[in-house]
């Protein structure tokens, strides 16, 4: 009983720690990656003086997130006189909460067998995991709208409204592009979808060489999902809700850690979208040719591995894939200019949405010809 509770606690703790640490480090990654992309060095001045030795420890600027947090926490927490006090304070928590919980149903590994226990490596085992993630992501926008409304500031209200409009046009495309993946693997359970991606693609033609990852079976859906996903994170090139560089967004009245939480929510959403892309299109925790009992290479070689090592490899593969996806999203964020409001709307409604419907139709025809889900 206690052991069961401990296992559940451990699973949730892993996901929480993964999300929170990655979210915190992403502020550093964003600064450093953009700097290196632009031939700069990036923030490297925050330091801790070690007492007695007197050495200043900089560790590549990794202390900057810490310095930021201290700054945010000690700043004045300003609230406009006519703001709705309750909603104004609730909004950042809503944003962060839903961004954090969204990751719960994304599997970070297969199962771990300890004695006679089978532990699923997933914070919550849900048979509607895909829907759950999107429900949480959509609910996250309520925090943003709440912030815009409760600030008693017309600019903030406009920012919140822009955010809602962007969210709707992105969410539709996300939901519709996912449908192709759900059709191919025949399940709404993310764990099932990831397991389905371990099978070889068309064994009659390619043998065991190509694993049926979503990016191979659904390349169009991958592009659509990634685009709509980046739009859902409200970051450049789709950052007109906040427009941190010049136009005024929904958090114009926020200061201190409440503002920091909105910034944090953006990073957490980036992690969620990266995790979703990994689970749906990059094979989740799958390592190519790795079966539960070891490697089975297509040329016939077999390398048996202990079960714990397989689980570790899978979790490692998942983390690496998520990090690669985050890297790609950061690259896009630091490369493209911002879309104008009407351009983003047009892209969402006249570009992504019809294409994802087309993808569903094409997938249906292909499945009919191939004879059922993979």
């Amino acid at each position: 009983m206690i052991a069961d509770l401990g296992i559940v606690f451990g699973r949730v703790l892993f996901v929480m720690m993964f999300m929170l640490n990655l979210g915190g480090i992403l502020t550093w990654v964003e600064r450093k990656q953009s700097a290196i992309m632009q031939d700069r060095i990036g923030a490297n001045r925050a330091s801790i003086r070690i007492p007695l030795i007197g050495v200043r420890l900089r560790i590549l600027g990794l202390l900057h997130p810490l310095a930021d947090a201290i700054k945010m926490l000690t700043k004045e927490d300003f609230m406009p006189a006519r703001a709705d006090r309750f909603l104004f304070s609730l909004a950042p928590f809503v944003s962060v909460f839903f961004a954090l919980t969204a990751f719960a149903s994304i599997p970070f590994g297969d199962t771990l067998r300890v004695g006679d226990r089978v532990i699923p490596l997933q914070a919550v085992t849900l048979n509607v995991g895909v829907l759950y993630v999107f429900a949480m992501l959509s609910l996250g926008v309520y925090g943003v709208m709440m912030a815009g409304w409760a600030s008693a500031n017309n600019f903030a209200l406009l920012g919140g409204q822009r955010s809602a409009a962007l969210m709707i046009s992105a969410e539709i495309a996300i939901g519709a592009s996912i449908m192709g993946v759900v059709m191919v693997y025949g399940s709404l359970d993310l764990q099932d979808i990831v397991r389905g991606q371990g099978h070889p693609l068309f064994p009659q033609i390619f043998g065991e060489w190509i694993p049926a990852w979503g990016i191979v079976t659904q390349p169009l859906a991958f592009l659509l999902f990634l685009t709509a996903g980046i739009a859902a994170t409200k970051r450049i090139p789709f950052d007109m809700p906040e427009g941190e560089s010049e136009i005024i967004g929904y958090f114009v009245e926020y200061s201190g850690m409440k503002f920091g939480m909105f910034a944090m929510a953006d990073f957490l959403e980036t992690v969620v979208i990266a995790g979703m892309t990994t689970a749906l299109f990059l094979g989740g925790w799958q390592v190519p040719y790795l079966q539960p009992d070891g490697f089975h290479f297509p040329w016939g070689a077999v390398a048996t591995l202990p079960q714990v090592l397989v689980a570790l490899l899978q979790v490692g593969a998942f983390v690496v894939k998520v990090c690669v996806m985050i890297f790609v999203m950061m690259l896009v964020r630091w490369t493209l200019p911002r879309f104008r409001y009407d351009q983003a709307m047009r892209l969402g409604w006249l570009g992504l949405f019809p294409l994802s419907i087309l993808n569903i139709v094409l997938t249906g025809i292909a499945l009919l010809l191939a004879g059922g889900p993979a």
């Binding site: 290196i36 700069r40 060095i41 490369t335």
Partner: protein, 179 residues
Amino acid sequence: MNLGQRFYLREVVAGVALTAGHFFRNMGKHIAHALGRKDARGAVTIQYPEERRPYSPRLRTLHRLVRREDGSPRCVACMMCETVCPARCIYIVATEHPNPEIEKMPERFDIDLGKCVFCGYCVEACPEDAIRMDTGILEFSSYSRLGMIYTKETLLALEPATADGKPTSPVPIPATRTV
């Protein structure tokens, strides 16, 4: 825009390839630098104040008063610089020089650097070549206006910069600075 550009995706890929190329090239140089190849530089950043780029020898920096061989100022308190100064930041009080061959010398020679615009007219106007702006010192700042006033003694103690603009004197702290 042609069709390929209107489609946008190709241009996005081209742009991301460009920035990613920069990232990996610079990252490789950073790693090479960390591994001991000190000539590999992954960034164009000059890490001021530890690193400085050489200043041009023509750069107009903090003033200094040129000394005679006996250490007294070469200035004869002719008031040319005070007159020509567009910012009116030079204040001179003249006095007799002990040497009868030299008419006058400044008793006080104050420059208010809070007002100075670094035009260099004082250097050009000086008939005795007694004031120069070649110390290479640019980092004088103060929390108070009084702290920006540099007196004769401070300005006399300064030395010219080296050929690549490196200052040879320490940044002076004016007598009037309290904070």
